[in-house]
Amino acid sequence: MNDRPDDRLTDEAERARRLLLEAPPPRAATAFRDRLKDEFVSGAIEVSGTREARGRARRKTVPIRGLASRRRRAPVWIAASLAAAAAITIVIGTLNQGQKWMVTGVRGEGVVAVDGDTVPLSDRAALNRLIVPGAEVKIPDGVEIDLVSGGVMALQLTRRTDLTIPPPPTRWINRRMEMHVRYGDTRMTTGPDFHGTRLNVFTPEASVEVVGTTLAVIVQTNGTCVCVLEGAARVGRMTPNGPTDIQPVRSGRLRFVWKEDRPPSSDHMRDMERIRLAQFRDAQRPWLEGTPAPD
């Protein structure tokens, strides 16, 4: 075997080579290594990328027991009052409902998992039908999905995102949202109708309180990174007793909440994440500012 033409290397190149050799090897996170080993040994690795590893029982709806089931007949005026109140409640509730989530863009090929079922990315109608509040969605590598709820907010679910779709914020009453992100990169940007809404994003390690901004929540094996492009968010560490050590994260900054027991780290946002967020915000702006979304 021929080798060692290294005598032709300049001193500078030779020094670079020496520095390369001195650099310690990167190590994988223990949790990732252990999980992959389990999957490799058990054979689950064959299916983990294409099939949901765990099934989930469908959420059962509990029927509301109507007054008709009661044997005793209520006086007519009580029934009428209740009916009127119910009607008002239904009307207000209906009017108060936020706009449903709508898939405005997909990139990549393959399938996504929604509540344990696989849905082809090309089947936009099925995605719109199944991606509803409470649905658990998992996004494989190389796939991105953009969702918009009227003029309120847009979400971008990217590689390996595992989250529960939040209910869109209501229009007037109780304007708050909760979103649970278990893993992956999720970007979000708020629209003009978000005003007055309170959004809480929870990850295994972090609590993020948003009051109107563009940000990314990146959940990794070793912690959660919250990158804020615009506005501000309040980021804390999740504990069994709720969030603690809540600190504001301002525009252009990130806060990393470690999975292990150590103080969160702060830093400037990476330029490329800044660009990605800006691209996402700009792409979603027409949807958020009133362009009717196709059904």
Binding site: P5, E22, A23, G43, Q220, M272
Partner: protein
């Protein structure tokens, strides 16, 4: 981060003309072919760290490296029956890993990965933060140097980076790299020299 016993700190440059021999004595490759769980576990333990380090250095992104490592071991699992128990499995693994990384480079995911850099995706930053938390100045300086070296490596175009990583960290000869990459030896040598020259300039500008 402690150096791996099989890592580059143990190696004195590319005088090793074949891929470093790795202890495969404890591995029952025949059982790996049958996907025996114990054999698979031993196989994983023997090669995971090396494969992860390889794909991390080639991709420069922890999340992508995890994806790639998963892909590598998925392919190994799927192709286990093709394993020749009489031969060192390392060249096979290297081929799988480099092919996976090339697929990543070609994909949009690779470009996207550089758009969602977190603390852990920024080579060395995590180490720097660790060191800061621990405090020793020496650790911080070493971490900073590692970061600069990794930056210089990542600044190379992927084909140049591949040659440097395979040669310096995997100890492969030019002919082996040529066979793996479909180039001729002269082209590999040229890429290697050029890559180190570029890295040298980069590191000089960075003050190393």
């Amino acid at each position: 981060m402690s150096p791996s016993p099989t890592g580059p700190t143990q190696k004195q440059g590319p005088s090793v003309l074949t891929p470093e021999p790795r202890p495969t004595d404890g591995l029952n490759l025949e059982a790996v072919r049958r996907r025996d769980p114990e054999a698979l576990a031993a196989f994983f333990d023997a090669y995971f760290d090396r494969m992860f380090a390889l794909v991390y250095r080639l991709l420069g992104d922890r999340t992508l490296a995890e994806d790639a490592a998963q892909e590598v071991f998925l392919k190994v699992h799927r192709g286990a029956h093709l394993l020749d128990p009489t031969r060192d499995p390392v060249p096979w693994l290297l081929m799988i890993a480099t092919n996976v990384c090339r697929d990543f480079w070609r994909s949009g995911a690779y470009r996207l990965s550089h758009t969602s850099l977190s603390i852990d995706d920024t080579p060395g930053l995590r180490e720097t933060l660790h060191s800061t938390a621990r405090g020793p100045e020496g650790d911080a300086l070493a971490a900073e140097r590692t970061r600069l070296v990794q930056d210089a490596l990542l600044a190379l175009r992927a084909p140049l980076r591949e040659v440097v990583v395979l040669r310096e960290y995997e100890g492969m000869g030019y002919d082996q790299i040529a066979a793996l990459s479909g180039l001729n030896e002269a082209a590999v040598r040229k890429r290697y020299s050029r890559a180190l020259a570029e890295m040298g300039k980069h590191l000089r500008k960075a003050g190393l």
